[in-house]
Symmetry: C2
Subunit: 326 residues, 2 copies
């Protein structure tokens, strides 16, 4: 474990326990099967980053009500719901090193359990007593589903631009981080400009987080990734490292890259060669720079807050998002 | 068209136009594909029964705000979302006489468009300014997904009892009718006991509606049904006509029924013979009686309301639910 990770985990030990307890207590399924399928994804070693962000943002605004952990489950339930639906979408077989739910059970059960988790998130949102929170949650769900649809629609489309990519990752990833941080401010009853700053922190963190994730798909081996490396490429999913490299590649290399993108059965040496080309054309470095820029903006957004202890944890989390697996 | 159907449609012409307009205006997708997939299910000749019930229940309480049509879209969006997810679940190929979305597009796009519609329903619910409405909507979604999971889990299970069946159809169908009618009362600001009466009307109507639907799967031909007759049997889905018949059948006949239930490739003559047996053992008549009982309770629930014009339409709808296709 890196020093930074250790430092963060030590600072949030109690919060993580409270989140874990709340996730268990608030699931409330009628039937055993729902509990098993939801549990398969919910209790598979998730980092609880999204609920943690909500709790920390609320605390940054001076709010320490004990309901915070319960409200924070909204963001893990929504996240788990999208993971279940994504697995159906992606056709992947592994998630967090475990068999995906739609292989262990079936697609229908997985889809319906995702629906249940979405609904649980909304039920708990309705208990916050804040229309702004409820609207935030509904908007998150609208955006996430549309981001995924957009990504799916553009699969294998080599004309995808950096702008298109940014729109997709905003919808599918950053809105949830943004919403979690925004909700932290809202439940704390913070002033509008402060809520806006927290939302900005979440947005930039989410953008950087997804960019780092997309980089990892090219730079890390399968065992530490908990899923198969090169998965994005295999699914024809264009992400920033490849988009940038395609734009700058010489014709010959560009053709090779496109051929790989259109061949889900590429070999390991072919994949390694692609990553080399992406390094040559700067796709890896550019993505790192962009992710870093978002992290700087995230940190700047929370600078004016006075609770320096909590602020430091949020800064650490932002920095860790960048270095975690690079 | 029957006289009763004609009478109802004449009475609600303006409401149906307002619903149609609101469904179009409130969909608000970012992307064209979402609009096409959602439109495929939304504008395929649905009866708009659920939004209509909300509007009529609000009117029964003296509420005629022009926002009612917009709020009523919640129930059609939720309904369409569950139809999209059900089609993935059921593996059927036809819905309302059209190819199902997951055949026309694919399963992932269908699942995600369903998510988008769920989220739209929630977003609009958050605009009602009533926590009770929002909670009602969240609970509907929780119950519907669980009802479907339960049904799926018990597929082909001949030990399914009438009680199990009632629990499933309550969750998967009646809660949405109940929620639509309840919401009508809530947006009208009606007293608690009146809201309860409207919810009861919706509940009993929904139960009867699903029973009538389950009967139709045995008693009507494919062309007027808009999907393939015998679909429930083919999917191993036990419904009340069969559950009752199985309970009362002689050993020899019972074995024949179970054999058909376990053979999705049954022939048309085999199906006709099964329906004959179900008539003999009273499964058809019993289901009709039960549906009728629920309709009587639905009508009784709205008796004390003073707006006789609206009350009459709701009574007509209840009666039509029973006779519509039997």
């Amino acid at each position: 474990m890196t020093d930074l990770k250790h430092k963060i985990l030590t600072a949030v030990t109690e919060d993580l326990s409270a989140i874990e307890k709340a996730l268990n207590e608030n699931l409330n399924p009628h039937f055993d099967l729902v509990s098993r399928v939801a549990g398969h994804i919910l209790f598979a070693g998730g980092k609880r980053l999204r609920p943690l962000l909500m709790i920390l943002c609320a605390r940054l605004c001076g709010y320490t009500d004990r309901n915070t952990a319960r409200f924070s489950t909204i963001f893990e339930y929504l996240h788990a719901a999208t993971l279940l639906h994504d697995d159906v979408v992606d056709g992947a077989t592994l998630r967090r090193g475990k068999q995906v739910a739609n292989h262990k059970w079936d697609t229908p059960t997985t889809v319906l359990t995702g629906d249940f988790l979405l609904a649980r998130g909304l039920s708990i949102a309705s208990q916050t007593g804040s229309y702004e929170v409820i609207e935030t949650i509904a908007e998150i769900t609208e955006n996430m589903s549309q981001g995924e649809i957009r990504q799916l629609e553009r699969k294998g489309d080599i004309s995808l631009t950096e702008e298109d990519y940014l729109e997709v990752i905003h919808c599918k990833t950053a809105v949830l981080f943004q919403g979690a941080c925004r909700t932290g401010g809202l439940v704390a009853g913070a002033a509008t400009d402060r809520v806006k700053r927290l939302a900005d922190y979440g947005y930039h963190l989410g953008m950087a987080f997804q960019m780092a994730d997309d980089l990892l798909d090219y730079t890390q081996d399968s065992s530490s990734l908990g899923k198969h490396a090169g998965a994005d490429l295999r699914e024809g999913k264009l992400t920033l490292p490849l988009i940038y490299s395609l734009a700058w590649a010489k014709d010959k290399d560009r053709k090779q890259m496109v051929a790989l993108l259109n061949n889900p059965d590429f070999s390991q040496p072919e994949f390694v060669h692609l990553v080399e080309m992406m390094k040559t054309y700067g796709g890896i470095a550019y993505t790192q720079t962009q992710a870093d820029m978002h992290i700087q903006k995230a940190k700047a957004a929370i600078e004016p807050f006075e609770d320096f202890t909590t602020q430091e944890i949020l800064v650490d989390i932002a920095e860790y998002a960048l270095v975690r697996k690079l």
